[in-house]
Each structure stands twice: as C-alpha cells, then as structure tokens.
Amino acid sequence: MRNMYGRSLFGRSWLIAVFIFLYIPIVTLVVYSFNDSRLSTVWTGFTFKWYVDASHDRELIDGLIISLKLAFMSASLSVIFGTFTAFVLVRYGRFKGRGLLASMANAPLVMPDVIVGISLLLMLVALQKWLGFPERGIGTILLGHALIGTSFATVVIISRLREIDLRLEEAAMDLGCKPFQVFWLVTLPLIASALVSAFLLTFTLSFDDVVIAAFLSGPGSTTLPLVIFSRARLGLDPSINAVATVIIVVVSIGVIASSLYQLRAERRRQREVADAYAQGKS
C-alpha cells in the first residue's frame, strides 16, 4: 500500500545523497586499487600488480593475521563476559550495587578510546614497574579491546535477555532443570542470535581499532590498522588499497549472505505461522 510519503522527490533524492556520501570514498578506494600509477591522483591504466605486491608483503600479512587472531579472541572474551554481566543485571533482580554495575557496564561505550587507551597504558606501566610484567604486546591490546567489547556485548545481550518470557525458564525448572541446566538448555539457545550479533560487533570493533592498539601494542604486535596507519604517514601505498578492497569484498559477501539468510528464514516462518492458523481454523 502507498503511504502519503510514497513517491516524494525529496525522499528519493535524500536517499541518493546519503548513498553517495557513504559509498563514494569506498568506491574510490576500490577503483584506485586497480590503478597502474603509484600516485593516487592520476589514472594511468588497469593492473592487478598491487594485489600481487600485497600478497608478498610480509608486514601486511603478519598484521592481518595478528588482527584476525586478536579480533577473534577479543570477541570471544567479550561475548562470554557480556553474557555473564547481562545475565546478572537482568535476572538477579535487585541487589546491592546493581545500579552501579549497570552504569559502569555502559561507561566504556561513551568513553573516548584515547582515554581508555591512555589510562590502560598508565596502569600497565605502573604494574610492569612493580611486578615486572605484563610486557606490552597482543595480550595488552586484547585487554583493551575486551574491555570495550564487553560493554558492547552486554548491551546487545541485555536487550535480547529482557525479551525472553520468564515463564520459559520457570517451565524448564518445573520440568526438572536445575538452575544451570535452565541456562544451558533454554536461555542460551534463545539468546544464541544475540550472541552471534555481539560476536560480530565486537570482532569488528577490535579489527578496526587504531587508537587503543597504538597505546598498548609492543614489539611484534603490530595490527593491520597500525601497519596501514604508519604507512599512510609516509605516503599512500596502493597495495594497501588492494588489501582494503579484499577486506571490503569479504565483509560485503558476509553481510549480504547473512541478510539473505535472515530474510528467507523470516519469510518461511511467517508462511508456517499462517499455515498453522489456517489449519487450526479448518
């Protein structure tokens, strides 16, 4: 059905303007990754050589591997910590310090990364002075990323946990589940989709972080964004465009596949519900 805004010219032109605003930079990057010239301002011809260069660039590849590892670990930790935090906040009712925990869990969401990075750095330097460890490296970056990630994961999981009908958990207990079994057999499967969302979100947050990594990295722990950032200061290298294009393609395929899957699942579900009602009536 058409609504009153259906064919407004304003709506359409606004949409197009936003798309241009969002995607022109990305398109530029993709196009210049095929540019034969070293200079990003002149187009001299089509080439794949930057892709070949990038695949032989040890520093870039190492950075990519470190970033993927780090993002995976950070996302895993964030989801685990986030699940516990959300569960305590939503299910344990009122307890002393609940309000404090609730607001503290959200604080890193609004805290500038620079501040998180510098405060962690100060703490780690002090710790190292007293105890002799930890050495700065992947572990310390992981600490920073998991700290931010836990907050984001908590927010995502809390909203799903609040939607779940408490009677489902009561029914499980009524049928013989001990509290841990209730969580494992009923709550966890029901929040699974939120856990996946939280994982993807925190993975991305870790993967594209420069600021915290810049404060907390040590020798041998240069993440991909750090590599790109340091090279950009020396003048842009087109092989970075190539790496970026590969990442964009992988992410796009992932996003498109997952939204297609969700769309189909939702359509199937609606059809099944409609069938069930038609059948119940007959």
Binding site: D165, R167, L168, E170, A171, A172, M173, D174, L175, G176, C177, K178, Q181, L185, V186, P189, L190, R269, E272, V273, D275, A276, Y277, Q279, G280, K281
Partner: protein, 370 residues
C-alpha cells in the same frame, strides 16, 4: 493433631495449612489460607486479577515460598522443596512452549531430565502425543501450530512426567470463545482419563464451573467460599460471591419474621417470604439475592402479598435461547429478569415501556447476612 473425617472415602492429596504470602513486607497477596484437595479432584481457584490466586498456585509449584504456613502433598511437607524436586507440573498461561524445540522434544524435555532415553523415552512421548491427538505433529515447531494445538502440546508436556499434582494457570485464556467451549470438555476428559489431581486458576467463573468439581472463590488473598459449583451458585454466602459468580439482583432489607423453616424480609421494593431459616434475629439488616432466571413475568397482578413487584421494561437484550429484561421498579431499582424463549418470537412479546409484574417462589432466593 486430630484427623479430619473425610466426607467421601477418597484420601486428601494436597493440604494447604495456614499459608500466607507477604511481598516486600507489606503487600499481603495470600492471607492465611487453608485448603484440602482430594485425590482425583479438579479444584478451581477463581477470583478477579490480583486476588492472590496466581500467587497461591506459584507457591504450589515452588516458584514462591510462603511467608508462613505449610504445604503437604501426599502427607509429605513440600513447602521448602525447589520446583525441580516436586512431583508437581504446571501448564503455564500462554503455554510457555520452548520455541527452539519441536513438539516431540518439548514433550520429552521433562522425561530427559529424569534420565530417560532411547526406546523408553520414545514410548512415553509417543503415548502422550497420541493422548492429545498430535502424533503426526511431533516434528513441528511451536510457532507452526494453531492456538488449540499449542494448548494440547502444553498439556502433554505437563502430564508427561506423571505428576502427582497438575497445576493449570488460566488454561484456556489464550483461546477464542468458540474454541474454549470445546476445549474445556476435551481438557477435562484427558485429565480424568489420566486420573491426575488438578488445581486450576481462572478468572472466568463459567470455566471454573464447567471444569471443576470444587471451587474456591478468592478475594484479597482470602477464600470467601469453598464448595461445589452448585453450592457456590445456589447458596452463595456473601454479596461478593453472589455477584462474582453469575448475575444477581440484591434487595436490601430487614428481617421481620424469623422462624426455623422460613423468614420474611421487608424491603422497600416488596416483602420476601423465604423458604429457609437463617442464623440471625428479627430486625437484623440482610440482603436477599435473587438470580434473574428464577423470576417469572406476568401481565396480571399475582394473587399473593409477597414475592412479587411491579415494574416497567426499560431494556431488552435478546440472546437467542433466552432474553434478559431490565425492569425499573417504583423505588428506582433495576431488576434483571431472564426468560427462556419457549416459543419463537411473537408479536405480543414484551416491549419497551410495558408494565409487568415479576414474581418468584419461596425457594428462589437466598438470604445473605454478609
């Protein structure tokens, strides 16, 4: 403690002994309630929302702990047992089926917690599914079922563990009216077939009367009256019970003549000659409750000096099997009268503005002192 002599030879299965529940130290949800439910009985707790019936049911299931009092099941004190230790299962309001499991796994859920597997598990689950006539639906997910089918899955799941006591929380609340009537009897049939003792909670007094053998009417955390459906309907013990269960006309008046086999009550509208005695004195203020269907209408003045009054028809609700008339009496009171439609609608039927006489017999009404 002296044992109470049972009125029938059935043994008492559930005994609630002086149970109270106070929330946050102030809100008395359930106030010193005692009750016995016999084996094989279907017992209904009725009351409007917030009367404490759901809290009482949740204490039976183990989701709430009584502030004081004890609960005994088959003679065993279960007050402090957790929900997963009690031989009690509940069918939840709006069913609470696990959305991530199919019908078969929903029914098997409780049995698996008891360590059942393989052929024995399959035998028990299949038996439950055939009991509720859903054998073909085992692979469906809950959202692929109609409301009535979901209700049957919920019933199968709560019966699968062969509980000693089955709790039903608004069992038909999520179904539409037409489906509810057929499902009520179906549900009772299955429960009686299994032979399980059952406590159900409902706000719908008709549902309670259809399904239960005994009813407790609750208000503000207390039982106002406990009895069979006909006792509750025909001899309510208070104004609240009389008007909560069905429709009623209430006349306020004073006892004039007080004899063991009859009393007369003088009201502004008319004099009532009631065919039963009361525990009271003459001159005492009482209410006379008269159900609309126990009144007859006539165009001529009845030839007696009590149990009738005159009025004008101000409202007519034609309901098919019967018609409800509202008569405005001289005192301004509106009398509800229900007449069976014994013939098809005729031209000389009562209409708005007609003056008629309402009359009733000495056994039609009940005197309420509370």
């Amino acid at each position: 403690m002296a044992s109470v002599t049972a009125t029938t030879d059935r043994e008492v299965l559930l005994r609630i002994d002086g149970v109270s529940k106070v929330f946050d130290g102030v809100v008395k949800a359930v106030d010193n309630v005692s009750l016995s439910v016999k084996k094989g009985e279907i017992f209904a707790l009725v009351g409007s929302s917030g009367c404490g019936k759901s809290t009482l049911l949740r204490m039976l299931a183990g989701f709430e702990t009584p502030t004081s009092g004890r609960i005994y099941l088959s003679g065993q004190d279960i007050t402090d047992l957790t929900p997963y230790e009690r031989p009690v299962n509940m069918m939840f309001q709006s069913y609470a089926l696990f959305p991530h499991l199919n019908v078969w796994d929903n029914v098997a859920f409780g049995l698996r917690r008891d360590g059942l597997k393989g052929a024995e598990l399959a035998k028990r689950v299949d038996a439950m599914l055939s009991l509720v006539q859903l054998s073909k639906y085992g692979k469906r997910k809950p959202h692929q079922l109609s409301g009535g089918q979901q209700q049957r899955v919920a019933l199968a799941r709560s019966l699968a563990k062969r509980p000693t006591l089955l709790l039903l929380d608004e069992p038909l609340g999520a179904l539409d009216k037409k489906l509810r009537e057929t499902t009520q009897l179906e549900l009772v049939n299955i429960i009686e077939q299994v032979g399980v003792t059952c406590v159900l909670v409902t706000h719908d007094q008709e549902e309670a009367m259809t399904m239960a053998s005994h009813i407790a009417v609750m208000d503000e955390g207390c039982f106002l009256q406990v009895g069979t459906p006909d006792e509750i309907y025909e001899t309510p013990n208070s104004r609240f019970v009389a008007s909560f269960v069905g429709n009623v006309n209430i006349f306020e008046g004073k006892v004039d003549e007080d004899e063991p086999d009859h009393i007369t009550v003088i009201c502004p509208e008319c004099t009532h000659y009631v065919g039963h005695g009361i525990t009271g004195t003459s001159g005492m203020r009482v209410a006379v409750a008269l159900r609309p269907e126990k009144i007859q209408l006539s165009p001529v003045q009845p030839n007696k000096n009590h149990n009738w009054c005159a009025g004008e028809v101000v409202e007519i609700a034609y309901l098919g099997p019967h018609t409800t008339y509202h008569l405005k009496l001289e005192t301004g009171m509106v009398l509800k009268v229900q007449q069976p439609n014994l013939t098809r609608k005729m031209a000389d039927d009562l209409t708005w503005g007609d003056h008629v006489f309402a009359h009733w017999t000495r056994d039609a009404m009940v005197v309420l002192t509370e």
